[in-house]
Amino acid sequence: MAEPTAILSPQIRLLPGGERRLLAGVGTRDPESLPAARRAGAYKGLTRAINRLGPDGTIAEIEGARLRGRGGGGFPTAVKWHDLRAAPGERKIVVANLMGADVTALGDRALAEGDPHLVLEGLLVAAFAAGASEAILAVRRDWTVAIARLRAAVADAEKARFAGYLVMGTDVSVSVSVWEGSGALVAGEETALLAALAGDRGMPVIRPPYPTERGLNGAPTLVHNAETLAHVAWILRHTATEFRKLGTPVTPGTRLVSISGHVATPGLAEVAMGTPIAAIIGLAGGGSGTTKAAFVGGPGGGALSAAELSTPYDYEPLHAAGAGLGMGALLVANTETCMVDTARFLLDYSAREACGKAVPCRIGTRRLVEALDRILAATPRPDDLVLLRALSRKMADTALCKLEARAPAPMLTTLDRFDDEYRAHAERGECLAGACRTERVAPLLAPLADGLAGAPLGSARP
């Protein structure tokens, strides 16, 4: 057997601490061997769902486990399954989201590379319980190792009659396919993913109708991210009671967290829900330098100050603080980091990754970046700080998708906590963190370098 390091792509480093539920088989056994996976209990959950529980029993089990979607929304999984089951129509589809929308969160990638059968089993259970006959694994195109392993896992599972035509001698058939998609921030949004799956440009559509009513090509569709499905498989293998032993009463279970930024050893850890953020940072060897803030939840998440690091890692406490779980990214920043500049980067990233469909998002994010640029250049307009808040609110009110509604969050949370840094930049052109150069190396917002747009955004048009 190969070394664990050779099993996973070098981008993925599993941190030694933390729980080992979903990660139990990741990096410790040959991911391409079905017998090895079965020795570790693979497809026991599917067998239990089909032979013992039946569709209603399976949904009841997930409901009993109080599993919530790990894609960032935290929506109860069982409710979605009920909706899909109740939706009319013959053709129903389940989609596993492995689009890696937030590039700094690598949990889904680690699962797909290290234990593809776990994800596949969860997908098959979801298809069985929700009454779907088609299952699609939508994988980011540049995760080539993950794609190859998932394809091999699907082929093996079909050969062993866990997937495909008449699963395990019953009258259930689930055809599974692996689809590779373009990686982009918006590609992970569920309606955008379904548009891309149909061969269109990946742009979100307005909801309702929710995908569970009208999804891929009009058929009711269930979209789950890979981690949620892995939890499904784990629950079916180990029972709901076992699942609830970790985590909080509202959100039982664990979560894969990717820790990066100013920490000793950046990497991936599995933590129980409700673990204090400071303890999660501790798993990565603690912060390097004096930790100033932690950005929880990637480009749509928010910043917590050092004093707030005892906040439990769970949906409600983080939402109350203005942050979110997102895809499980945790970015630690030390005192040498300028909060204004970091907020500007995250916002600018959202602006450039915007699909362009919704006007408040397409124009709003750019106006926010411009306002931050004026603040960073110490040439603010008198009402810029008001503008930042008012425009963010309007964007959240009129948002087409979650990404848009959450885009201003890193800026708003830093504005609340590090108001002095904003004011020092705006009023004195001084960076309290000492990080910003007077001359920036490269323009972070690529100027619209063509005659069409004229001057870069923020300057007067001719």
Partner: protein
């Protein structure tokens, strides 16, 4: 009986009456019409006598709109669904022809897509057929084409559009999203990851160092055309931050010193291959 000149008199009478009647014409925009309080204008496209939209979705209106207010989606005359959006992400709007149509000076493009680019059309058609020609396979087809050419040649996209009977705009729209290059990179492509994690791990300094070493900024190529430099947030470096990508290989974590070494190595290897 007709009196000679009575026709002219009648005509002049009409003219005189009209001359003193109140004018209907408004000197818009100096004068504004009084609209009902909650009147909402409605824009619609003009139909031809056969009931077809006269709009050909040529997109010139959106190209010239200075505030990017025009966003299009709908069905063309073939019944294909078309969508457009943000101009910067639709390179079609940066096409020299688009500039010419919009009455603007075409931007000089170093690596402009060429109509004479050598694309193995039968091979592209074979790739399309290999995937069964289904729209879901677009991204996989793009992947295969980019692997061969290093970018998606416009000619190849046209062939894909023809072969799959998917509108060109849909093919182009799908190609504009996520990691596909629409123009060839000059020489070896050096990409510095600027994702949030890499930035904090020293990616900004790495970019500055590489940029200073090569004497070029992001989006530029060295004068000898051996290397071009880019930034991307989508390298997905994870534990390898700060990461550097040369062509398709990702290195990390790298220091400025190691980056210089890696780039030199690649430049020499490239020179050997050419020589």
């Amino acid at each position: 009986m007709r009196i000679p000149g009575s026709g002219i008199a009648k005509g002049l009478a009409v003219t005189w009456r009209a001359l003193f009647s109140p004018k209907e014409t408004l000197q818009y925009p100096d004068e504004r019409p009084q609209m009902a309080e909650r009147w909402r204008g409605r824009l619609d496209l003009i139909y031809d006598p056969f009931g077809e939209h006269k709009c050909e979705v040529c997109f010139q209106c959106a190209q010239v709109c200075p505030v990017e207010a025009i966003d299009m989606s709908g069905f063309d005359s073939q019944g294909n669904r078309i969508r457009y959006g943000l101009p910067e992400i639709y390179d079609e709007r940066k096409d020299p022809n688009a500039f010419r149509r919009a009455g603007l000076a075409a931007r000089p493009m170093r690596n402009a897509a060429r109509w004479d680019e050598a694309v193995d059309e039968p091979w592209v058609r074979g790739v399309v057929d290999g995937f069964g020609g289904r729209a879901e396979a677009l991204v996989a087809i793009f992947g295969a084409v980019q692997e061969r050419y290093g970018y998606l040649p416009e000619r190849a996209l046209r062939v894909i559009s023809d072969r799959m009977v998917i509108h060109w705009a849909q093919v182009f729209g799908a190609a504009g999203l996520g990691g596909f290059r629409l123009l060839p990179a000059e020489g070896h492509l050096v990409t510095v990851c600027t994702c949030a994690a890499c930035r904090l791990a020293g990616g900004t300094d790495l970019l500055a160092a590489v940029s200073a070493d090569l004497g070029i900024g992001p989006g530029e190529a060295t004068p000898d055309g051996a290397l071009s430099l880019e930034t991307s947030e989508e390298v997905g470096a994870g534990a390898m931050a700060p990461a550097l990508r040369i062509d398709t290989l990702v290195y990390g974590p790298v220091t400025a010193e190691q980056a210089r070494h890696l780039i030199d190595q690649r430049r020499r290897a490239g020179a050997r291959a050419r020589g």
